[in-house]
């Protein structure tokens, strides 16, 4: 199975709600990254969290990392319709390996 598996595969919420996506991985990592991909576009880097960090914030994004459980979560607060996209986690093992993504739909 793949390094960096996101859960859920698809998530549909209303504007203003929070969205949480999870990522699990298998091997030791130096860091974990989250990317967003809008339909028909390339991936855009959102946030990088190092293995010695437990939580990181960037605007409405909050990422946590639990290396004992080999898992990470991405929380988007106060979601907007423009947040509709696929979200991928990527781990370095050592090459950057992407999960299969979570498709987030934010309904206006």
């Amino acid at each position: 199975s793949q390094q960096g598996e996101e859960d859920p595969q698809a998530l549909s919420i209303q504007e203003g709600e929070n969205a949480t996506m999870n990522c699990s991985y298998k091997t030791s990592i130096n860091n974990l990254q989250w990317y967003r991909q809008n339909s028909g576009r390339g991936l855009v880097h959102l946030i990088l969290i190092r293995s010695n960090e437990r939580e990181k914030h960037s605007g409405r994004l909050r990422v946590t990392l639990d290396t004992s459980k080999k898992s990470s979560s991405l929380l988007i607060t106060a979601s907007r319709a423009a947040d509709t996209a696929s979200y991928f986690c990527a781990t370095d093992d050592p090459r950057l390996t992407f999960g299969e993504g979570t498709q987030l739909t934010v309904n206006p």
């Binding site: 793949q2 990088l48 993504g101 498709q103």
Partner: protein, 117 residues
């Protein structure tokens, strides 16, 4: 200014043809990548070059041949195209160490949608 650019954006061709996709980055990065994204959005690394030198070559058919004339360019040539090659191909770049170590953020191009008929 576009950081990572790819041409063409769309490529429709017949089975058996040979085609190339070009990629350029103006970020001054040392490392460039090619990824293949299938219809289920699974993104798989194909190749990685650091300072024009091949450092990652995943299990990719030898019909795929990357070429890096300089560290700002990484082109992908595909011979004898097959139906299964239909996908979106992304170029990316980053400032990374050549072997192992933590990976920095990658900057992606807009993708090239290849359709083989």
């Amino acid at each position: 200014d576009t950081a990572v650019s790819q041409t063409p954006k769309y490529l429709v061709t017949q089975m058996g043809n040979d085609k190339s996709i070009k990629c350029e980055q103006n970020l001054g990065h040392d490392t460039m990548y090619w990824y293949k994204q299938d219809s289920k959005k699974f993104l798989k690394i194909m190749f990685s070059y650091n300072n024009k030198e091949l450092i990652i070559n995943e299990t990719v058919p030898n019909r795929f041949s990357p070429k890096s004339p300089d560290k700002a360019h990484l082109n992908l040539h595909i011979n004898s195209l097959e139906l299964g090659d239909s996908a979106v191909y992304f170029c990316a770049s980053s400032q990374d160490v050549p072997s192992g170590g933590a990976r920095n953020e990658q900057f992606f191009g807009p993708g090239t949608r290849l359709t083989v008929l």
